[in-house]
Amino acid sequence: MRTEAVPGALLEISGLKTHFFTEDGVVKAVDGVDLTVYQNRTICILGESGCGKSIMARSILRIVDAPGRITDGRILYRAADGREIDLATARQGSAQLRQIRGQDIAMIFQEPMTSLGPIQKIGKQIVETILLHRKVSKAEAKEEAIEMLDRVGIPDPRQRFEAYPFELSGGMRQRAMIAMALSCQPRLLIADEPTTALDVTTQAQILDLIAELKEEFAMAVMLITHDLGVVAEVAEDVAVMYMGRVVEEGDVYAIFENPQHPYTRALMASVPRIGVTKSGRLPAIKGMVPHPLARPSGCPFRTRCDSAMPGVCDTSVPDLVPAGDSRTACFLFSDATGNG
């Protein structure tokens, strides 16, 4: 048994690579992610669309659709009984993996419109989850489902139990999704851009709800988002991703007050701040995210980086090293000798 897991760590991802083998070539959606999720803490995964954050999250539950698959790395999950399970190598379809899905680690998705079965009643879908993982009778499961619906703030839960997804608004559907995800009291909730498809007021309500439930159920939350405002509001830890790698991780104050990686710095600078009057345009990150099939050699960010050092950044990929108050993968803070 490995003993390197950090105390308090619930999930420890190291060197995770999830690649998509398409007809046009291999898309390295996740290419060497190192990340730790701690118990009872909220970690936000921040990054532009297409940076691999969703795929990384889906890799944890092993629900990446073909032609994608995990090619390397470990996802060490520490179960409640102290066992450590490597999810990256768990057999697809095994009872062990299915036990963890839904019961230990639950997930909610971006599109509440399409993430619920379209022609099954909401209540039935929740009851189904409860019955899958817990030894309760159907009637008990129904009562619990109604209680959950009530808990996530759905009015008239007893009636909504009988409702179909298309009868609910987007916000209500996302609440129902949350109720379903939390129905087995998971230890980790992965929320993949849960508010992107919702309008602004609903977004705030859903985020508040997740934060509230996190305290109540004493669970860890992994929130995936591209919205810096969301991060500032709910995060305790932050990991910034760029082209399939974590480029900087640390607690929320370190990332916001003292960002180290040029990408993080550029991100922070691109946000308008109330009270700060600046003339001219907001600074934007130059260039565009490279095509996934045309990854730059070395540090993937070097093509857009103002501090890129020719001969250094294009030869090898930087590792995460401590810098400032966080850990950063950038040659400004480490020697180019570490990684090939």
């Binding site: 889906r58 539950l61 629900i63 659709d65 379809g93 299915r98 036990q99 963890i100 899905r101 839904g102 019961q103 639950a106 997930m107 998705f109 599109e111 399409t114 993430s115 619920l116 079965g117 379209p118 022609i119 099954q120 189904e128 989850t129 899958l132 993982h133 179909y164 298309f166 009868e167 999704m177 379903m180």
Partner: protein, 316 residues
């Protein structure tokens, strides 16, 4: 529904009126040849059914007979009321059609699901290949081929629904077994093209659903692949599948009629063909009318069924 049925009855009547002359003309010619003078009988028949009167008068007389007295008219050739001749045969036609529908479902559903889930596997290619063959062989040709094969290689007597020795016998267990030995062939023949079509439809529907977010949700809940497959995507893909009954029933009835002619089944097919060829207008008209109407009703039932299983349609 009612306008459709009305339209069906008018269309049918127009069609059976199309041939120039009528059966009584040929009957009169025949009688004239044999030297029998039956002008009075012919005249009374003409009056009763309004032959020679304007089209709409004939139509109303015919419809009034059907609606008020259940009288579909007279089969001139057999000189018996149409109602005496048709019900048995209609029963067999629809019996075979419905059994064929069941056969199609029982084969198309699992094969379609398999083809979609194991896309581009050997099994999928085999199913696709047979699907195309099934679509390309016309019913009657398949019937001929199967009859030939059954006779040549298995020495089985073909044609009819029971062996000759059971014809006209009361129903016994042995006769029933004999019926089963015969009836599978028309069912398979009529059902092949429909099954082929439905396999393709099911496969396409399911492929549409298989990669939807809700499938991922179900997987993330910890369901087994088989559980989630049947409970979510298959369940959703089933709805357009059910609505296909609407169009498949007419084609089954059509197919049954043709196959019945080839296989000499005691169903509507041979009777209708004969009636059309000798211009036995009320018999032909009644058959077309009833077959069409029952099909329309069947389609309606499939619509109702669809609304029952799909809450989204109910909601609209």
């Amino acid at each position: 529904m009612v306008p459709t049925l009305l339209l069906v009855s008018i269309t049918t009547f127009v069609i059976i009126q199309l041939p120039p002359g009528d059966y009584l003309d040929s009957l009169a010619a025949e009688m004239g040849e044999s030297g029998v003078d039956n002008t009075a009988v012919l005249e009374s028949l003409r009056r009763q059914y309004g032959l020679g009167e304007p089209f709409y008068v004939q139509y109303f007389k015919w419809m009034r007979g059907i609606l008020l007295e259940g009288d579909f008219g007279l089969s001139f050739e057999k000189n018996r009321p149409v109602t005496d001749l048709i019900w048995d045969r209609l029963g067999w036609t629809f019996g075979i059609s419905i059994m064929t529908l069941l056969f199609i479902w029982l084969t198309a559903l699992p094969i379609g699901i398999y083809s979609a889930v194991r896309k581009y596997s050997v099994g999928d290619y085999v199913a696709t290949f047979f699907g195309f063959i099934g679509l390309a062989i016309p019913n009657f040709l398949l019937a001929l081929v199967m009859m030939y094969v059954a006779f040549k290689f298995f020495g089985q007597s073909v044609g009819g629904l029971v062996s000759p020795e059971y014809l006209g016998e009361p129903w016994t267990w042995a006769k029933f077994v004999d019926l089963l030995k015969h009836i599978w062939m028309p069912i398979v023949v009529v059902g092949t093209s429909g099954a082929a079509a439905l396999i393709r439809i099911m496969r396409a529907n399911l492929l549409d659903e298989l990669y939807r977010p809700y499938v991922v949700t179900a997987r993330a809940k910890g369901m087994t692949e088989f559980q989630l497959l049947l409970r979510y995507p298959v369940r959703v893909a089933l709805n357009p599948f059910i609505s296909t009954i609407g169009w498949i029933l007419p084609t089954l009835v059509s197919g049954e009629i043709i196959v019945a002619v080839v296989m000499n089944l005691p169903t509507t097919g041979p009777l209708l063909l004969r009636a059309l060829l000798v211009q036995d207008m009320f018999l032909a008209g009644s058959l077309i009318l009833i077959v069409s109407m029952l099909t329309v009703v069947g389609t309606l039932i499939s619509d109702v069924l669809l609304a029952l299983v799909d809450p989204r349609i109910r909601y609209q």
